[in-house]
């Protein structure tokens, strides 16, 4: 198990170095750190002096090495628009995105597991057919359209819920949270429904398909023959086997949610990392763009590595094979 974890971490490091390399190449080609620092109203000589001082005339790989060592220490460059270190900007926007992803993931998990299991156990019942029908329509509607419809119905027509922004937030240990105020929660409703709308059908279908496959196996038939209760057979014997593929695929899918936050945040003007990213693109804020690339890349790598390790812990076969 230990060797397995070490291998995973080495792989994650390699992937991060590649992402860093891509990020650095972009920065090297597009970015102008001098302009980022002092603006454009500085003479050519002064700029050249500054370039030399910043080591911008060093070789590409020397600069890459410096970029990596800075990144490891948390220095991802300087956003000229915000006049702040890029990482600080991202970290100040991160809570909004993380809370949105968290609430959406909870919605997805809490709804997809019972619905997926139910429609696998009773595939012919009305509710199961309905769930399958609705889910294929669900995967066919782009997130931004769901978001627009939600705003149109619940904010514009019915005036039940706010249509944009995060509402009131509370600062808890430096974390701007919208989870602890009524207003913040009300603002979370529509964006989190919109964000989960794309993944929920996928999860229901995934859980249903896996569960149906498991229910056909010999060991489930044997579990019935042992005289176990339905609850035991379905929730322990079948569900535990369904869990393995759901964790692998599900983990990756939850990572993909981060991509969809860009769309959701745009429609709801949610002040998170995705919204910030698009603004950075419009402003050609290269440093911030690259910092976002590195941070999101790291997020993906961490999520996937954790999923792999959790999979290893849950699956007895993996554990033993590498003990």
């Amino acid at each position: 198990m230990f060797a397995f974890i070490v291998r995973r971490i080495i792989q994650a490091t390699v992937v991060m170095l590649v992402i860093g390399f891509i990020g650095f190449s972009v920065k090297h080609q597009l970015g102008d750190p001098v302009r980022d620092l002092v603006g454009i109203s500085v003479s050519v000589e002064e700029r050249e002096a500054l370039r030399e001082q910043l080591g911008l005339n060093d070789s590409f790989f020397e600069q890459y090495g410096r970029f990596v060592s800075n990144a490891v220490r948390g220095d991802l460059g300087y956003s000229y628009f915000f006049k702040k270190p890029a990482l600080d900007v991202i970290l100040s926007k991160a809570p909004a995105t993380i809370e949105l992803v968290f609430v959406s993931s909870m919605l997805i998990l809490l709804l997809s597991v019972p619905m997926g299991l139910y429609s696998a156990i009773y595939p012919k019942r009305f509710f199961s057919r309905l769930a399958m029908g609705v889910s294929i329509v669900g995967v066919s509607i782009p997130v931004f359209l769901t978001a627009i419809v939600l705003i149109y119905v619940f904010a514009v027509q019915l005036h039940w819920l706010p249509s944009y922004g995060r509402g009131d937030t509370v600062n808890i240990l430096g974390w701007e949270s919208g989870l602890f105020t009524i207003d913040g929660l009300r603002h979370l409703v529509l964006p989190s429904i919109a964000l989960s709308s794309i993944m929920l059908p996928l999860f229901i279908r995934l859980i249903r398909a896996e569960m149906m496959e498991v229910l056909e196996t010999e060991y489930i038939k044997y579990a019935w023959a042992k005289g176990l209760t339905r609850k035991r057979v379905w929730l322990v014997h079948a569900f535990k086997n369904t869990l393995l593929p759901v964790i692998t695929v599900g983990g990756v899918q939850l990572g993909i949610l981060i991509a969809f936050t860009i769309l959701t945040e745009t429609v709801f003007q949610w002040q998170g990392m995705g919204f910030m990213f698009l603004e950075a693109v419009e402003r050609s804020d290269t440093a911030l763009l690259v910092a976002y690339l590195v941070v999101v890349g790291a997020l993906f790598v961490v999520v996937n590595t954790v999923v792999d390790i959790v999979y290893g812990l849950v699956n007895p076969t993996v554990t033993i094979a590498s003990r």
Binding site: L30, I136, V137, V143, L145, T266, L278
Partner: protein
């Protein structure tokens, strides 16, 4: 033997198609859409790219059956005064072109890598499959958004728009190859160990050729099933990019950029600019997904999971 089995399969495909109403309706709608996309220049009442025919005074005219609507603009006009129906037809054309182009690209890369990986085996296989794992663990949409953003910053919005179509095909197509690669690799490995390959080698035939002539038919149905879903995904990704302003420009809109352009006007009452393209997009993706589901049920190929 092979041809006989193929025949049975084909007739089974046709048989189950005739029995399935959803499949028939979906296929009909899809065929209509593809036809409309292909012949958009002939079907559309106006040419939305012809700047001279567009009058900004015609902007935001509602659909013809509504109050204020005009009979010459059946579905009304958009914010620039273009006939919405014509613009949608041209937009569908662009979306379909990008979607199919992207899928061809990813299928080509994926099948090539899958064949190489499965046939060569060893270290090459291990490295390629590791890369596929990593690639697959990143969201395609995320990669597409970041790459298109970088390209846009690098080239500037003006240049970007000129090369948008091929660029979007590459951006959307490049990230999804692992699905194909894994499926093809699995069937190469499956065939590699079969007796007939061994037998062919023993009697001195070119085992490679025999093997590939078996592999290609075997991979056909999984590739077909993957491809239908992938076209839907590619069209969706393009729409998402365009919605974010990273895709097709408003001057040459895809369905996604039409929705994006109309989005700001939805709340001021000009709902149709967003509504009709949105419905077109949803129905288009839905019928492809329904057909993909049906194909998967009928062909029941061994798809690589996880």
């Amino acid at each position: 033997m092979q041809t006989k089995r193929q025949k049975i399969k084909d007739s089974y495909l046709l048989y189950s198609f005739r029995r399935d109403k959803v499949a028939i309706v979906s296929a009909t709608i899809l065929a209509l859409f593809l036809f409309a996309a292909l012949f958009a220049p002939m079907l559309a009442p106006y040419d939305p790219y012809d700047v001279t025919s567009i009058d900004i005074m015609d902007a935001e005219i509602p659909p013809s059956w509504m109050e204020g609507g005009e009979s010459r603009f059946f579905l009304g006009t958009d914010i620039m005064g273009r006939d919405l129906l014509s613009t949608m037809l041209y937009g569908l054309r662009i979306s379909v072109a990008i979607g199919i182009g992207a899928v061809f690209l990813q299928a080509f890369i994926g099948i090539a890598i899958g064949l190489a990986s499965g046939y060569l085996g060893g270290r090459v296989d291990a490295v390629l499959m590791r890369i596929a794992d990593v690639q697959l663990s990143f969201s395609t949409l995320m990669v597409a958004i970041i790459v298109s953003a970088i390209v846009q910053v690098a080239f500037g919005v003006g240049r970007y728009e000129q090369i948008a179509v091929p660029l979007l095909i590459v951006i959307i197509g490049i990230a999804e190859w692992p699905q194909y690669a894994r499926t093809v690799r699995a069937s190469v490995l499956g065939e590699k160990n079969k007796e007939y390959v061994e037998a062919a080698r023993v009697i001195g035939l070119d085992s490679k050729r025999i093997m590939f002539s078996h592999i290609l038919p075997n991979t056909l149905s999984p590739v077909l099933v993957i491809s239908t879903v992938q076209v839907a995904n590619a069209v969706m990704s393009e729409a998402a990019l365009s919605f974010l302003g990273l895709g097709m420009p408003v001057s040459m809109p895809s369905i996604g950029s039409l929705i994006n352009a109309g989005f700001e006007y939805i709340f001021s009452g000009a709902w149709w600019i967003t509504f009709f393209p949105a419905m077109l997009l949803i129905v288009f993706i839905l019928v492809i997904n329904l057909l993909g589901d049906w194909l998967r049920d009928v062909l029941n190929p061994k798809l690589y999971k996880g």
